[in-house]
Subunit: 286 residues, 2 copies
Amino acid sequence: MTETTGLTLLEEHRAHGGRVMFYEHASSVLGLPARFGVFLPPAAEQGGKVPVVYALAGLTCTQETFLIKATALAEAARLGVALVTPDTSPRGAGIEGENTDWDLGTGAGFYLDATRQPWAQHYRMGSYIAQELPLLVEAALPLDGARRGIMGHSMGGHGALVHGLQAPLFWKSISAFAPVVHPSVVPWGKKALSTYLGPDHAAWRAHDAVCLLEDGYTHPAPILVDTGLADQFLQRELQPWHLVTAAEKAGQVLICREHEGYDHSYWFVQSFVADHLRHHAGLLGA
Amino acid sequence: MTETTGLTLLEEHRAHGGRVMFYEHASSVLGLPARFGVFLPPAAEQGGKVPVVYALAGLTCTQETFLIKATALAEAARLGVALVTPDTSPRGAGIEGENTDWDLGTGAGFYLDATRQPWAQHYRMGSYIAQELPLLVEAALPLDGARRGIMGHSMGGHGALVHGLQAPLFWKSISAFAPVVHPSVVPWGKKALSTYLGPDHAAWRAHDAVCLLEDGYTHPAPILVDTGLADQFLQRELQPWHLVTAAEKAGQVLICREHEGYDHSYWFVQSFVADHLRHHAGLLGA
């Protein structure tokens, strides 16, 4: 597989009648080695291509986190949906300060292309998610690029909303757990956007789901968003009400659910992940 | 809660309509602080007590591993079964060499009471599992000690089989994933039993599921055991055929399933955990 596709298989495990795999490849977009995970459902072994949902993890996570902690595999196997889990940033770019803060640099790529130095060369998770990774993995595995969805948690929920709204023909379904919906106005987001993109707020709007909706970007499918009301970041970083308001004004159908007592953790994500997978499967015709 | 029960709540998360909690307490049996996890299903919040399954993890694991990696909560919530997850050994006993090997000492208590020095004072996971932990947690939480099952993975599968066979009135249902069934004859087991119990093989028999069956210990309920045929430890450490033979001779009903392509990991465990929970729920009248 290495020679024909450029993918090196690091690990493979049978699971739920399908397979979990972790790969490494030389990313031309990132200019560094990159890793990602895949779950192929049993249906992928019967010939033909299966729909695929890309799952973007949050701050400090890796390509392993969602596959291990979201407990998504049983339902994905049942529905016949594949999962692809990218890393959350480039690794080893060698930028000073890259590993100092947990909410910036390594583990915190925010799924965008940095334009500011010294980040611009490697911190290009935007193009990696929008182009390089899907094309690479869908060429190598039986995944149907015409039935492709995107979901994410926290920073990854931001990534899912932004990428989905920017390219609705590419991403046919969108959902998010506890997403950062309006990074332009919250601490995590302001820190990342100013560092990666510079001080000009106009450049931030394409990387902010609320701004995208305000600027006329909508998605033809309903977007599913779940948030826990005991989420420790709800008031400071998430502020989902901005998304509700912007969606209403834009005419975007949004299913925004609030869950009493649930926090920001993967215990919350795993409690509702089956609903999200069914949301995607329904829209993708799985 | 600390004052009345001796339990300190370290973490609590809402999950699947129930709650995941991690506790610490001063274990009198171990002579050290000990931690464990609990999942209470939604049914536990409606008054009345729920059946409970103790899940024992394998080498190198902690009280967190099964709850995070086995993806058991959705089905446990649905069935109304609680889960309790002990640690795999005492921590911080201060014994020389305790942290040198991954298969001995810390993370490798083998769910028995050591009789040999310097282990005998603290390495008493046998009495901890058989007595202290169940009585403590069932006094503090709405768990029904009359409907108590035990399951485990690898070293924890050994623990589940041995404890279940030794005390069938205490443990009403038993299951295991990839268990060490005959520690007296395999490397992990011989190392642990000789270190903790000394060279006299007669003393090992009470800590070996195959020997227990040979010595007349059986359980009235069917025992469920799953093993992966691609398990990297199958030939060297697990050797499930010894259990099949001993169960046949003893008249023990054993459901021993083999799964093509599955390895020793939690990807295997999670693929069949719902079956195990249903096995326990059926026997416990959940």
